[in-house]
């Protein structure tokens, strides 16, 4: 065998082994690589209890309630299957709004309320000008009316 082909095989084998090893490590750490849990996972008890974790989902439309002090906010986060009520004290990011994605970090209270210490807005991969967004909203409204 030529030294060149020998090197090719050795190196190819080493790279294949490396990829296999990394794949195994990533599968093993699957749990820790997740940035947030979904409300369904939380409801099923898959989320960690007693320590801080994050829940990601959509802010349930119509759920945002501001307290009299102007800082405390209550809202619900949903993945359209399960709903988790959240309380948070502090300023919200500009993109935080009803029906949009958000990630909240905090602890689950005994009363089933999630006490958030940090709220992040999650942006989706859609980019469109305001007119197009307006058109999409209108179309969705029409579709809803037709269904009803």
């Amino acid at each position: 065998m030529k030294p060149r082909s020998k090197r090719l095989m050795l190196l190819g084998g080493a790279v294949a082994l490396l990829i296999g090893a990394v794949a195994l490590v990533l599968t093993a750490f699957q749990e820790n690589l997740v940035f947030f849990h979904t409300p369904t996972e939380v409801a099923e008890g898959k989320a960690p209890t007693g320590r801080t974790f994050r829940i990601g989902g959509l802010v349930e439309p119509g759920s945002i309630k501001r307290a009299a002090d102007g800082l405390t906010v209550q809202f619900a986060i949903t993945d359209t299957a399960k709903v988790i009520p959240v309380t948070y004290k502090g300023s919200l990011p500009d993109l935080f709004s009803e029906g949009k994605g958000a990630v909240v970090q905090g602890k689950m209270g005994a009363d089933g309320q999630f006490a958030a210490s940090e709220v992040l807005a999650k942006h989706d991969e859609n980019y469109m000008p305001p007119e197009a967004q307006h058109a999409v909203d209108q179309a969705q409204k029409t579709a809803k009316t037709v269904k009803q």
Binding site: L11, L26, Q30, T38, L120, H123, E125, Y127, P130
Partner: protein, 258 residues
Amino acid sequence: MMKDMHKPERSKSLFRFAAPQMFYPLAGRLAPWFAGIAAILAAIGLWLGFFVAPTDATQGDVYRVIYIHVAAAWMSMFVYMVMAFWSFVGLVMNTRLSFIMSQALAPTGAMFCFVALLTGSLWGKPTWGAYWVWDARLTSQLLLLFLYLGFMALTRAIEDPRRADKAGAIIALVGAVNVPIIYFSVKWWNTLHQGASVSLDKAPSMATTMLTGMLVMALAAWAYTIAVTFWRVRSLILERERHTDWVAAELNALEGKI
């Protein structure tokens, strides 16, 4: 090119450019063209991005960071893959130019990686509400920057170029595993970073003018990378071949011009 083809003493195949002294003049001829293309494309892309493209419905004007961020992030991943490719070729075929190529690419890849992290962070604060989060996408991209810096530090720290080449090539190959992780992180795990707006398996989820501006900027980044890499390859070749006759002749010719 045609002139070269008729000279019988030279090999006709493209592989003749694997010899540093053959690649040196070719890179010198091509680099200014790519630099010119890069400047023109960047001007068009920035004009499209900042003056023609509409604002985004939810993000407002902040979204315009994508014209730099996405091109830089794509390039930072692609450059590393090219580095890994040349390192592999170098280790198997024992060709000096392959190692020189991957070392010439590293600083540009590192720069794009840094730009992607920086612009992403500046975008993250107004959009997400945080400059930095430890999600899979951001963390793996940060790891890519460390891999670039590690590669550059290692290849420069070892005196003997042959050993430096081999050590660097191994880092480049091992680190290449990280690139698909960066790319697919938003698919495999829940991340704060949004999924891909442009990918091979679905229609782009972006308005057309926005998309055009972004793609033109990506092409500009390609042309820029090729230009600066060729220039860097030339200086690396001169440095390594400084004891050879052809470099001496080249330098004499250069002095004659001045």
